[in-house]
């Protein structure tokens, strides 16, 4: 059986997982730059300094999206979302902007 990677499914899944992880604060791991430590899951370990979630969010989105891009057939999406695929990353970026609004208040 020949495995086929679907860039459409990868983009859709990555955007959805990335936004979900951001929205519900669910990174796969946190990185603590002060001591160069990692902790699995979203729980912040006290006494380790500031925690960074970006690596954990990207890693989980990329991993899950890669698996889905191989196992989910993309014909349905390729046909029905023809020429509207671009709306998904735009929506994801708008949601990101909305979630970051507290920094500008």
């Amino acid at each position: 059986m020949r495995l086929r990677f679907s860039p459409i499914i990868f983009m859709l899944a990555y955007c959805l997982i990335y936004i979900a992880a951001l929205l519900w604060d669910l990174p796969a791991f946190l990185y603590y730059p002060l001591h160069g430590q990692l902790s699995w899951g979203p729980e912040v370990v006290k006494g380790q300094g500031p925690a960074m979630a970006w690596y954990g969010i990207m890693a989980e989105a990329a991993l899950i999206a890669s698996i889905l891009a191989i196992i989910v057939p993309d014909r349905w999406f390729a046909n029905r979302m023809q020429n509207v695929l671009w709306t998904v990353p735009v929506a994801a970026m708008l949601i990101c902007t909305f979630l970051m609004r507290t920094f500008f208040g």
Binding site: F10, M11, W54, W86, T97, F103
Partner: protein
């Protein structure tokens, strides 16, 4: 060491900015070049040849950014918060998330620029290229402004 990586990050970003802007402007200009003006010469390039260069530059720029990110988190963001520059932190957060989302567009971007998709996904190809160009410009300008406020030590 981090300063060297920051300089490499900046140089890669400038190269990426040039490549994606060139491709994007050329793709947006629908009419074929007729004169030998600068604009016509600028836009009459083979847009397809930029694709893999953009992908490689985007990936390496993001990777170098990911390497210097912990230094920013400790040495730049903390002082920003102490100076009550929440908007600067917010701009960087958007840079970070837009950059992360841009990564997932790269496989689709390559696929859309293949000759087989020329007719079927014309609008997607143009829009994804414009989105990538927007992300690159946003990340470049925000990085530049924040580095002017407080650079890495």
């Amino acid at each position: 060491m981090m300063i060297a990586v920051l300089i490499v990050h900046g140089l890669l970003a400038v190269t990426l900015l040039g490549a994606i802007t060139h491709q994007c402007v050329s793709a947006l200009r629908a009419k074929p070049a007729r004169t030998l003006s600068f604009v016509d010469r600028y836009t009459s390039v083979n847009q397809r040849v930029f694709t893999w260069a953009v992908v490689m530059l985007y990936a390496t720029t993001t990777l170098s950014g990911a390497i210097i990110y912990p230094s920013y988190r400790l040495n730049v963001r903390v002082p920003f918060e102490e100076m009550s520059l929440g908007w600067a932190v917010g701009l960087f957060e958007l840079k970070e998330h837009f950059g992360g989302l841009g990564l997932c567009l790269l496989p689709l971007y390559v696929w859309l620029w293949q000759p087989q998709q020329t007719q079927s996904h014309a609008r997607d190809r143009l829009a994804i290229t414009v989105i990538l160009a927007f992300i690159v410009w946003w990340d470049f300008l925000v990085g530049h402004v924040l580095n002017n406020i407080r650079g890495l030590p």
